[in-house]
């Protein structure tokens, strides 16, 4: 396929995606305007838009957004540092990899969200319990990818660097680190995504503030249009954060 045809193909699939979303929202509008769908269950999209504009205009969201983003930043910072350090230390020994890699993969595969009640008991209803959950969930993909990144480097790279006289520091800085970096970066991106998911989710279950908390609060007071406005807002925030992280990942891999 020529580059131009490829470009055209990409635009075509973008157009179909946009069209699909438009169709979905139209269906939503149609069903709520003429389709006898209770506005308690599904508010009209225009009403949601109206509420969304109000939320943005009044700046009411700032406090909750700040709580959620702070929780995310702290959780991700802890798990990124701890995950890469623990992963690196494990990757130094073939025996440690054999022991800990399956163990971590096993723990990672259980639904860690189940620890939330425990964390609420330990750390209370405030941000610390969300941070603890976000950290726990994002630690594993980061640590596992760091192990994979450092642990499975082709031996020929190490051997040839040593044959040319590389010191231990040079071996790490110019061979091991660049070899492992793309894999670690993928782990960090995965960790970020699951941390965001866990924090928003846990805010909806037991919390005092945050975007998730606000959404549940609005649902409980039957303020459906405003709740949908907040969901839209949270989705937009999450999508743009993930887009930023993915583009950082792509940039770091080049």
């Amino acid at each position: 396929m020529s580059e131009r045809a490829e470009q055209r193909g990409r635009w075509a699939s973008r157009a179909v995606q946009a069209l699909f979303l438009v169709a979905l929202i139209s269906l939503w509008a149609f069903a709520t305007t003429w389709g006898h769908v209770s506005p308690i269950l599904l508010p009209n999209p225009l009403a949601v838009l109206h509420e969304l504009i109000d939320v943005l205009k009044t700046g009411e969201f700032v406090g909750d957004l700040r709580v959620t983003l702070t929780e995310l930043a702290v959780a991700f910072a802890i798990s990124a540092i701890a995950g890469t350090i623990v992963g690196y230390l494990i990757s130094r020994s073939a025996y440690a990899i054999k022991v800990f890699e399956p163990l971590m993969a096993g723990i990672y595969s259980i639904p860690i969200i189940l620890f939330l009640p425990l964390y609420v008991l330990f750390f209370g209803l405030g941000p610390p319990s969300k941070i603890a959950l976000g950290t726990t969930i994002s630690f594993f993909p980061i640590a596992l990818n760091t192990i994979a990144g450092f642990g499975y480097i082709d031996k020929i790279f190490t051997v040839s660097a040593l044959s040319m006289g590389a010191s231990n520091y040079q071996l790490f800085r110019f061979v091991l680190l660049p070899a492992a970096f793309p894999v670690i970066l993928t782990g960090l991106r995965m960790g970020f995504t699951v941390a965001l998911l866990a924090i928003l989710g846990s805010e909806t279950i037991a919390s005092l503030a945050g975007l998730g908390h606000r959404i549940v609060h609005l649902a409980e007071s039957m303020d459906m249009a405003r709740m949908f406005a907040y969901i839209t807002f949270a989705v937009a925030i999450a999508a743009s954060l993930n887009a930023v992280v993915s583009s950082l990942e792509a940039k770091g891999k080049r």
């Binding site: 790279f157 051997v159 044959s163 040319m164 006289g165 040079q170 110019f174």
Partner: protein, 282 residues
């Protein structure tokens, strides 16, 4: 020979794994060898005969179980980046760096001053004809070009000794031939001592001043064959009567050893099949 050998291998034996263990392999048996200054010596032999093992031991990448290697009266106890450079079979270039970065990195590891690196990198690229590909990543190059780049990296280190472990082993026949010719030209201009491991009889005869023929595992040098033909060698050498005669001699020496090593590995495979199949039988 009155002058000191460039590399002196004395009574080197090596094995992998523990004696009695299932993975125990005696790779090399009591091998001694003097490599003359400035010659190109080819090591040839059946698979698993220990020729690559010997190369690693010579370069200090592997500690021999017994025996010693000396480079210029100095005992080899680890890598000697100032004296010895390696070219490996393939993919030993760092894929995250461009060709010229790979070359600079090697010199940095070796301890060459920054100002000197650039000059030498350009020279090495010119020597292998890769000037226009300095900023390419290894993944963007063909296998033959990658090996040229690996050779350039080794040349830039300006060591007296070059150890090449089947450097053209993964390439197709035509590319091999061209690279072999270029290597012969390149070497005629330097006084490097080169040890070259290969599977290819033609490559060995075309490149080598001497060919060391290995016996089947546990390997040791069975015979040393001289190839009395000045470098750089012309493509016409391949069709000459002398080439054919030496190649045939090599072939007959190797043929028996290869048979031996194949029947041995078939026998051990049969033993393994017997022991694993025993339980399944009624």
């Amino acid at each position: 020979m009155t002058d000191v050998a460039a590399v002196r291998v004395q009574g080197v034996s090596h094995q992998f794994g523990e004696q009695g263990g299932t993975r125990y392999v005696r790779a090399l048996l009591d091998t001694s060898l003097d490599i003359r200054r400035g010659e190109l010596l080819c090591l040839i032999g059946p698979s698993g005969c220990g020729k690559s093992t010997l190369l690693s031991i010579m370069g200090g990448l592997l500690e021999p179980a017994t025996g010693t290697v000396e480079v210029g009266n100095q005992r080899v106890r680890g890598p000697m980046p100032r004296e010895i450079a390696f070219v490996f079979q393939e993919n030993a270039l760092f894929p995250w760096s461009t060709v010229i970065e790979n070359i600079r990195l090697g010199m940095m590891f070796q301890g060459v001053r920054r100002a000197e690196r650039e000059k030498r990198a350009q020279q090495a690229l010119a020597a292998v004809g890769l000037m226009d590909f300095a900023d390419y990543y290894p993944g963007q190059l063909s296998g033959g070009m990658r090996q040229r780049a690996a050779l350039a990296r080794a040349l830039s280190l300006e060591t007296g000794i070059l150890l090449m472990d089947e450097p053209f082993g993964a390439l197709d026949e035509q590319t091999r031939m061209v690279l072999g010719e270029d290597l012969s030209v390149l070497l005629s201009r330097t006084d490097k001592t080169i040890v070259f491991v290969t599977h290819s009889l033609g490559e060995a005869v075309f490149l080598a001043d001497r060919v060391a023929v290995f016996s089947a595992r546990p390997g040791t040098i069975k015979e040393m064959i001289e190839v009395d033909e000045p470098h750089p060698r012309k493509p016409e050498f391949i069709t000459s009567e002398k080439f054919t005669r030496i190649r045939n001699r090599l072939y007959s020496l190797l043929h028996d050893e290869i048979r031996k090593s194949v029947s041995e590995s078939a026998a051990s495979a049969r033993v393994a099949a017997d022991t694993s199949g025993r339980r399944a039988e009624p």
